[in-house]
């Protein structure tokens, strides 16, 4: 399949995953998308509330929400991070690049690169060797995955090469196949999202 056909497959399948899909004009547009998504969502729930601290209104789940907004972007290069900083300037969003262990109570959004996207299952292949990437993609309420169109794969078995490549870079390796938000059906087989990790997954497609 051509790259365009694979993009069409992803578009067709993403809603049922569920994953939101955005085709960004360029990297700056992708960062603007992340900022917009973050500004539009309700304030992040604080899952580790501290006594005496001031919180916002109670969420639909009955939990306190934070007064600030946070975007964690642990996997961006210096240049990329600078673009995000530019887009977030003038908003009430605080950017986080590291030290995410100190934010385990929750943050709004994470931005991470996926190393590949399997179109057939809408699965992001994410090199998660860095602990900050793992925490970022699990603790954010909204996980945004950046995908270069050139990394689109057709079927799951086509991920073999990239798996071996990631494994053979030497030393320890931690790779995640991520398909949609954190989900469960453990109570009465009723589907529910965000049981431990993200409530939403967004995929942003970028030209190379």
């Amino acid at each position: 399949m051509t790259q365009d056909q694979l993009v069409e497959v992803v578009k067709a399948k993403a809603p049922s995953i569920p994953a939101s899909l955005y085709e960004a004009k360029d990297f700056a547009d992708a960062m603007q998308y992340a900022v917009d998504v973050t500004e539009k969502k309700r304030h992040c729930e604080m899952l580790l509330p501290e006594e005496g601290k001031q919180y916002g209104p109670v969420s639909e789940n009955g939990f306190p929400t934070m007064l600030e907004r946070f975007i964690a972007a642990p996997g961006l290069s210096d240049e990329e991070y600078a673009v995000l900083e530019e887009k977030a300037a003038g908003t009430d969003i605080t950017l986080l690049r590291s030290g995410l262990r100190d934010h385990m109570g929750g943050f709004d959004t994470s931005i991470t690169w996926a190393d590949a996207l399997v179109a057939d299952t809408v699965t992001c292949v994410v090199n998660s060797n860095r602990e900050e990437v793992r925490i970022g993609t699990m603790v954010a309420e909204v996980s945004i995955m950046l995908v270069r169109k050139s990394t689109l794969l057709n079927k799951l078995e086509d991920a073999n090469d990239i798996m071996l490549d990631l494994l053979n870079r030497g030393g320890a390796s931690y790779t995640a196949f991520i398909t949609g938000p954190s989900r469960t059906a453990d109570i009465e087989r009723v589907g529910a999202l965000g049981v431990h990790g993200p409530l939403e997954l967004h995929i942003v497609l970028l030209e190379d």
Binding site: L47, L48, F63, E131, A159, L167, S182, T184, H196
Partner: protein, 716 residues
């Protein structure tokens, strides 16, 4: 957790489950939805081919288990992992407790692991003073309730939202919403977050241990495993040796089946691949302290046992429970000790011993739905029968088993006994002599009042055959009939009808008199020795070379003759004969449709409104289209809901577990009646006995006929 030591205790446990209305409704709904979802998710894929590939991959891995272990160990150690080997569950528990102690851990969090359940790891760690918290939602719920899982994939499927809400109210000291499942899930989200932060050790299982890279692969939806393997400074993986697999490509292949078969998902939300001691801010030198404990607990010897080795193919998808008519009635707590469903019966015996499995292993109806749905094509019913026969061998026979074996061993004695019963049953018959009145439960080995049992026919088929056969002068085909006991002695009219249809369409029919019981009931009772004797008698009673086909009208006999015999007789002098014999065995309905090629022109449509019951063993022969095509030609056919679900007979099963047989039978009757049909047509005398018996006991006007009877009536 079904841990009944004897059948009486077990019946008590079963009754508890049958009385649980929520459980019954949940599992009914699940059974129906799972099947439909599974069909949808496999659409356009060659499932049989995939299952074969998975079986090959796992077989190959099991054969090279210890080589793969060595390779894995070398690769994992290169990446900074400590690899341990535990011969027993107790040893694995000791190793893990020692790791926790040496690393000064106190709080342990876990992601779901059936292997940890197998060795009762939580209890062992708690005894050592560690605090252990499960983080998978279902596992957390059952841990808080001090229960075991009731399904391998959905451990808390037996609980309602109300039970969960009340539990969460207790745990959080805050009144929780009793209706809104979304909110209940968020309670876990919040409560467990601090556990991730405070834990110093995380324990996970593994779906794959990939030898080529010392790589662990796990399949989850919740993502709790990613936090369990990221936040604490120590990570311990517990994996059975059967999780070893050579390559990443192999794992990706298995992944095409596992989530689809487990939860009808193309893929789960998270597949996590961990090779080596990764970055961990709180670990020594910024690295995780990582250990992998491989568990044997009998796996090496299972791999060497030809009768059991296939069980190591299991990828823990849980599908064998999802399609099991017995699981559907009683749930996992009563259909498993730790491992659940059909594979649970076998694994209980293999990992937890005969004591735990003795009663449990009886609870297979033999419908083979599990075999047909298995991710790796494991013949679970065969393994269950093998276990029964091993238990009989090592512990001696039950009274029923001994009597059965004694009678069946000698065909003359068996047939004389039937003749004797036929004469002596007269005072006990009702409804024109066709049924026996209800007998006291003690005589029947259980309450059989849910169905009216048939009386033996006044004349057996072997007595009638010469009078009814009218062979053509120039036959198109020559066939021999294998009657099976039920049609020979109870329902000879079904065979008489078949002979009429066959003769009318140019088929020469013979009936070799030295044939006897096919032996399946003996197998179900663990009577291997006698089962081998009757199998041998049967293959020697026929001259297979003389016939185009050996026809049987009993789906269960057909399945056993065709698939059971070659396997049973493979180590005997009859093996070649058994192979030829089996290759000739065919069911009557396929023969009529495919070989004789009878079509609408050959019949006069009867005008009857009929529905169909598809016998399990007929489906297992791959026969599904033919009966429906014939029904459409000769009658007004309306399919019933769940036509492909067992009728609840299962031969000796219905005597051992009348309470389960009754429930399944009544459901079958209800679904059939709902079509408005006046006749249920089927292809097996066992199913006729069950469904007609249940209909009669319930005063239902619906009739039950064998396909041969309907075809004979509709013949031009």
């Amino acid at each position: 957790m079904a841990d009944a030591k004897n059948m009486k205790e077990y019946h008590g446990q079963i009754q508890e489950a049958l009385d649980d209305k929520f459980l019954r409704a949940t599992l009914d709904k699940f059974a129906v939805e799972y099947k439909a979802n599974r069909v949808r998710i496999f659409e356009g894929m060659d499932v049989d081919e995939l299952v074969h590939e998975v079986a090959d991959i796992k077989d190959n891995a099991a054969q090279h288990m210890m080589e793969l272990y060595e390779q894995f160990k070398t690769e994992a150690e290169k990446r900074g992992v400590h690899v341990h080997f535990a011969s027993t569950g107790a040893e694995a528990n000791r190793i893990i407790a020692r790791i926790a102690k040496e690393n000064h851990c106190k709080n342990i969090i876990k992601s779901k692991s059936m292997t940890a359940e197998e060795i009762h790891l939580n209890g062992a760690l708690e005894k050592e003073g560690f605090r252990v918290v499960e983080t998978d939602l279902g596992e957390w719920i059952i841990q808080l309730r001090h229960e075991g899982p009731s399904h391998m994939v959905m451990p808390a499927i037996h609980l309602s939202r109300y039970q969960v809400a009340d539990l969460f109210t207790d745990v959080t000291h805050v009144q929780q919403d009793r209706e809104d499942i979304q909110k209940l899930v968020k309670v876990a989200r919040k409560e467990l977050r601090s556990e991730y932060v405070n834990a110093d050790m995380g324990i996970s299982g593994a779906n794959f241990a990939v030898a080529e890279a010392g790589l662990i692969g796990t399949v989850t939806n919740e993502g709790n495993l990613r936090l369990v393997t990221t936040m604490p400074r120590v990570h311990v993986v517990l994996a059975g040796l059967e999780k070893l697999i050579p390559t990443v490509a192999d794992a990706l292949k298995v992944l095409q089946v596992l989530p689809r078969n487990a939860t009808a998902q193309a893929i789960t939300s998270y597949i996590t691949w961990i090779a080596g001691a990764n970055e961990c801010a709180t670990g020594p030198d910024g690295r995780k302290e990582m250990h992998i404990v491989f568990l044997d607990n009998g796996r090496q010897s299972i791999a060497k046992d030809p009768a059991f080795k296939d069980i190591l193919r299991c990828v823990r998808c849980g599908a064998c429970a999802n399609v099991c008519p017995v699981y559907r009635l009683i749930g996992g707590h009563k259909m498993g000790y730790v491992y659940i469903g059909a594979v649970g019966l076998a694994l209980t015996y293999l990992y937890h011993g005969a004591d735990k499995a003795r009663a449990l292993v009886q609870n297979c109806i033999g419908c083979e739905s599990c075999k047909n749905v298995c991710s790796a094509g494991i013949d679970l019913p065969r393994i269950t029968r093998e276990i029964r026969s091993r238990i009989v061998k090592s512990e001696g026979n039950s009274t029923a088993g001994s009597v059965m074996s004694m009678v069946m061993k000698d065909r003359d004695r068996f047939h004389s006994l039937l003749k004797f019963i036929k004469f002596s049953q007269k005072p006990l018959t009702v409804k024109g002599g066709r049924f026996i009145r209800h007998l006291p439960a003690v005589l029947m080995g259980g309450d059989q009042s849910f169905r009216q049992l048939p009386a033996l026919a006044p004349k057996s088929f072997r007595q009638l055959f010469e009078k009814v056969v009218n062979n053509p002068a120039q036959p198109k085909f020559r066939v021999a009939i294998f009657s099976g006991c039920a049609q020979d002695f109870i329902y000879p009219e079904q065979l008489v009808a078949a002979v009429r249809v066959l003769n009318r369409h140019g088929v020469h029919v013979e009936f070799p008199l030295k044939q006897t019981c096919c032996g399946l009931p003996l197998e179900m009772m663990g009577q291997r020795e006698t089962s081998l004797e009757v199998s041998s008698q049967n293959v020697n009673a026929f001259e297979p070379g003389k016939y185009d086909a050996i026809l049987t009208l009993c789906a269960s006999c057909a399945g056993h003759l065709k698939h059971g015999y070659p396997d049973l007789l493979k180590d005997t002098g009859d093996r070649y004969r058994a192979g030829i014999f089996a290759s000739k065995v065919m069911d009557f309905t396929s023969f009529v449709y495919n070989k004789l090629g009878l079509r609408a022109d050959d019949f006069v449509k009867t005008g009857d409104k009929v529905t169909y019951h598809s016998p399990c063993h007929m489906r297992n022969l791959g026969v599904t289209e033919e009966p429906r095509a014939l029904l459409n030609m000769v009658a007004d056919y309306t399919p019933a809901a769940e036509e492909d679900v067992c009728c609840g007979f299962g031969g000796t099963f219905s005597v051992k577990f009348p309470e389960l047989s009754a429930e399944i039978g009544r459901k079958k009757l209800k679904n059939s009646e709902a079509t408005g049909a006046s006749i249920i047509v089927t292809d097996c005398p066992g199913c006729v006995m069950q469904i007609r018996g249940v209909a009669t006991a319930n005063d239902s006007p619906i009739k039950v006929e064998h396909m041969s009877e309907l075809l004979a009536r509709a013949m031009k």
